[in-house]
């Protein structure tokens, strides 16, 4: 068994109501300490109001080879973006 503390990925939600965002990683023996360490390491400049930690080995990630099938289909759906539509200035703000 490795003697090194497990690696945790840290996600922080900031002041402004945005979702939790990945900020980096750290080591900790367990999840309680991981949260405390995250507080001490990643919120020193009062960056956050909520912390998630997850052990790195539990993260499932998409593989780069799938990039094409996963993301390209949405490229062609340009109509999903508001800028696709020309609205005359006279209509006012929309």
């Amino acid at each position: 068994m490795s003697k090194e503390w497990p690696l945790w990925e840290v996600f922080i939600r900031g002041q402004h109501g945005l979702s939790h965002r990945h900020v980096g990683s750290l080591h900790a023996p367990d999840e309680e300490m991981a949260i405390k360490n995250a507080r001490d390491v990643y919120t020193r400049r009062n960056e956050g109001v909520s912390i998630w930690v997850v052990e790195a080995r539990h993260i499932a990630a998409s593989s780069p080879e799938e990039k094409g099938p996963l993301y390209e289909p949405s490229n062609s759906k340009v109509y999903r973006h508001p800028t696709f539509f020309d609205i005359p200035d006279d209509v006012g703000h929309m």
Binding site: E4, G24, S25, P29, R45, P64
Partner: protein, 330 residues
């Protein structure tokens, strides 16, 4: 720099014809400024070089805590004590972020630490110089962090995603380091005779070691050419050194301090300062372990690591007991 003399793996830049399809595809992505992410295909040499470079950078942040930490207990006011402690703490954070970036390449922090402690991996030469008077703390922030920032700002655009993101976070935090150093220098330069003497003494001792931070000229190096092509190096050592000198000269002048170089002068044609090279023999000696503080720095790191082993093991043992108890209860 914080990663000086990083040996680039491989035999130099390949032509497009020499590249495999994968290599060509990779280089195209780098050229298009696409970020390379941990699970993406990358050349083995790119991975190996990055591990060395990020690892060395991380080690520098950690060893770099020591010369400034040397004055935390002697800081002259409560506010200076707090500022210095916060600054040195930031450096520990930088080391942590960078180890984290290196870990995405398939090494562990403990492996990198062992490499540092056994002397197989290096850290920046600058941290083998002593901090002897309080103005040294000013000079380190002003010059050493100043030189580091010079290198780190362009590295925010480096091709490897996790490295780039670590540099962005680090640069955000660095902005106060150089300023607090210069602030100390201003107080010292405007202070009494003894303080002015400390300030000049600090500049005298830190000037050339700061210039050495950028490493010897690499404009003809095939290794550097490869690192530049991979965008894990953004500027040559000479470019960065020149930028540093040009930035620092007016700052020293404002303080009323003299840069210890009688050949330093403005060159109208080049639009830049001419200046003396540091003593590269001294530099290579420091790298080989013969700097004024190499022995103390390594001793301190080894002692911290060894003395801390029972703490790391003890807390881990407790975590395992807790998990076992929880599993048994389910």
């Amino acid at each position: 720099m914080y990663a000086q003399l990083v040996k680039t793996a491989g035999t130099g830049v390949k032509t497009r014809e020499e590249m495999s399809d994968e290599e060509r595809n990779f280089q195209d992505r780098v050229d298009r400024d696409e970020k390379i992410e941990p699970k993406d295909w990358m050349p083995d040499d790119y991975r190996a070089t990055l591990i060395r470079q990020i690892g060395q950078h991380a080690h520098s942040e950690i060893v770099g805590q020591l010369p400034e930490g040397n004055w935390i207990t002697r800081a002259p006011t409560l506010e200076r004590k707090a500022i210095l402690l916060a600054k040195v703490q930031d450096e520990a954070g930088h080391g942590l972020y960078l180890y984290g970036a290196a870990e995405t390449l398939g090494v562990t922090r403990d492996e990198l630490t062992e490499e540092l402690l056994s002397g197989r991996m290096k850290y920046s030469s600058i941290f083998n110089y002593p901090t002897l008077n309080w103005a040294d703390i000013g000079a380190v922030g002003w010059l050493v962090d100043g030189a580091a920032i010079m290198n780190q700002v362009p590295l925010q655009r480096t091709s490897y995603g996790p490295y780039s993101r670590a540099m962005i976070r680090i640069c955000k935090e660095e902005s106060f380091h150089q300023r607090q150093g210069y602030d100390i220098m201003m107080k010292m330069a405007a202070g009494n005779d003894a303080q002015r003497r400390m300030a000049q003494d600090a500049l005298n001792r830190f000037w050339y070691p700061s210039l050495m931070m950028f490493g010897p000229s690499d404009k003809d190096s095939v290794h550097s050419a490869q690192s530049l092509a991979w965008k894990i190096k953004i500027d040559t050592n000479d470019e960065l050194r020149q930028r540093f000198v040009d930035q620092t000269v007016p700052q020293a002048k404002y303080l009323g301090l003299t840069i210890p170089d009688e050949h330093l002068k403005w060159n109208e044609d080049r639009g830049a300062h001419d200046f003396s090279e540091p003593d590269w023999t001294e530099f290579f000696n420091v790298i080989k372990g013969k700097g004024p503080c190499n022995v103390e720095r390594m001793e301190a790191r080894v002692k911290a690591w060894e003395d801390g082993a029972w703490v790391r093991d003890g807390l881990m043992a407790h975590a395992r007991k807790k998990t076992a108890a929880r599993t048994a209860a389910e």
